[in-house]
Symmetry: C2
Subunit: 381 residues, 2 copies
Amino acid sequence: MGQYGEFTKADYYYIKRALSLARKGVGYVNPNPPVGAVIVKGGEIIGSGYHRAYGQYHAERIAIMDAKSNGADLRGATMYVTLEPCDHYGKTPPCTDAIIEAGISKVIIATRDPNPVSGDGITKLRNAGIDVQIGLMEEEAKDIMRFFIKSVTKKIPYVTLKYAATLDGKIADLEGNSKWITNNMKNIVHKLRHEHMAILVGANTILKDNPYLNTRVSGNTKYLNPIKVVLDREGRILKLKNLHDLNIFKTVDNHGFGKVILFTSSKDKFCLKVSEDKLQIIHSEEITPEFVLETLHNLKINSLLVEGGSEIFSQFLDFADEIYAFYALKVLGKGLYVFSCISNSLEDSGKQFKDFEISKLNVSQDKKEFMVVIKRCSLEL
Amino acid sequence: MGQYGEFTKADYYYIKRALSLARKGVGYVNPNPPVGAVIVKGGEIIGSGYHRAYGQYHAERIAIMDAKSNGADLRGATMYVTLEPCDHYGKTPPCTDAIIEAGISKVIIATRDPNPVSGDGITKLRNAGIDVQIGLMEEEAKDIMRFFIKSVTKKIPYVTLKYAATLDGKIADLEGNSKWITNNMKNIVHKLRHEHMAILVGANTILKDNPYLNTRVSGNTKYLNPIKVVLDREGRILKLKNLHDLNIFKTVDNHGFGKVILFTSSKDKFCLKVSEDKLQIIHSEEITPEFVLETLHNLKINSLLVEGGSEIFSQFLDFADEIYAFYALKVLGKGLYVFSCISNSLEDSGKQFKDFEISKLNVSQDKKEFMVVIKRCSLEL
């Protein structure tokens, strides 16, 4: 039920279609929100579309173009759109203008745009005589665009922690071996990497595993490679003679997707054989999670997938909006555990999760691993 | 599909009824298997029953008595029964005799009885001219009577581990505080205690928490109190001046349900103020898991719920047939972890679970806790 009025069964049907379309853009549109739109007239869908990539047309304009290319007369039609249409010139002209020009008479919106930059699309449409209703499946719409909402309202990226552990919470054995504790849900990990704009790992992870940190998928889906953020406080990675041979640099493409942003406190001078479009170095005396998140926000990064190791998980737990925890039917006993730098009393052990709940629980196909997704209950981020 | 022939849709319907009846006896019939029976004639159920308690009539006899009390003529009827009918005089006379006398002409059995003591019921029935079919929903039937099968075939009890941990696998904080890490699925724990004949805990658990280790349920279900097995190698519990005040003795009833069996290596002489029907002491120089399990088997205990702590979990992991793991949305970081005495390499970390798979994954109602049940895939125990 919308909080702004009553909607019909047909309204729900059409906004669900728009939400499905919006989901197709997840990962491709960052730092924009994924948005979908459906145009209905006389009980039929005459046009639909979604925002496909950053810098390209918004969902509303694509749906209108789709309807026109079908030869439809848009006058008197209703548009269902998952986010309030923008009323400003960004990379593309205002969607409000396109809606008004097309003669659409009613717009049903899932959720308002929290970004002040977007302008007041609702007032603009109403002033043009269009009937505007708001709040249909608002929670679902907010969930789809949670990276965007967090980033716009809190000025730091949405943070997801992802770890793979044994039943007893270990992420590596005593020798530091960690790959692959879980192995059967890799496709979910690669989807997560695609959806987030950046991945964060500590220097230890790079030095121990020399990972690629890219997206690999079998099948037709083309996943994007995220930006790799590396915390290298003491410059242990920068010191490497064969720095340019690290696998993280092998997965930077020509469009800059997959580039490395390295935070360090080291004041040493390094002779780097890596070009600036592959490696950006950020110096700071203190590298706190707050500093990292604010810096990434200023670099227009709206979402960060924290992949470890243990020290990094411990530092970023308080900043997490969501956790993907994978567990395998394994027991290490002695070993490195996931939040090794935290020391809570039993009383305080749940404080990080006061506003969180389990949103998903899945078993792998071979029934040897399971995944639990923990998420903020409220999207008032 | 049965491995001994083809069954009809109606056969599946009736054996499912018999399996449901069998389940009602779980926890009440130990060390006997839970068994259900349904008698069908002319497409109608004319009698049904299940084994209700150790020493009382078997399911077959109860179903026959039920049919007779309904005034039914049993001649030419078909009996569906979840376990091969016994052919020996135990606490009650052979079920085979009752079936033959009643004139039942066909018996469909879910699974054979692995207990040599029960005699060859199938041959006895066939020799009397009864058509016997075997193997209908055999896996389900074996699962319901897995305590009995393990005990009869392996001469040790079926072992279930049950632990409650934080996301990072801790079962207590640095001060040893552990109750209640999980809190919202207590009804499942009490059902487990009821189903198993005995619970096992270490001396630390008794000394730290002074638990009752009984079954508590709100509602109408009457749960039985399990036998409490305590490992007290050094006699730290026996040394207690106020031993008789421990809560474990407060939950022993007049029928001996809930009594304490204590294993110790201590050779000290203790002046005990607890009567023998409440406390049985077993002395042994070495108290290995093997010794404990064999001793319990000889005491006719077919199932053991291992409740901790960490040292006990580590020792009994290799003997587990099933694990109930409860996790809470909590992080302790430093603390006592569930298998603290184990030290596996990553390579060996899955060896205990080669034949296991996840059989259940549940979220608590408040979405703050989840439960994973891990079980042997094969019932060839």
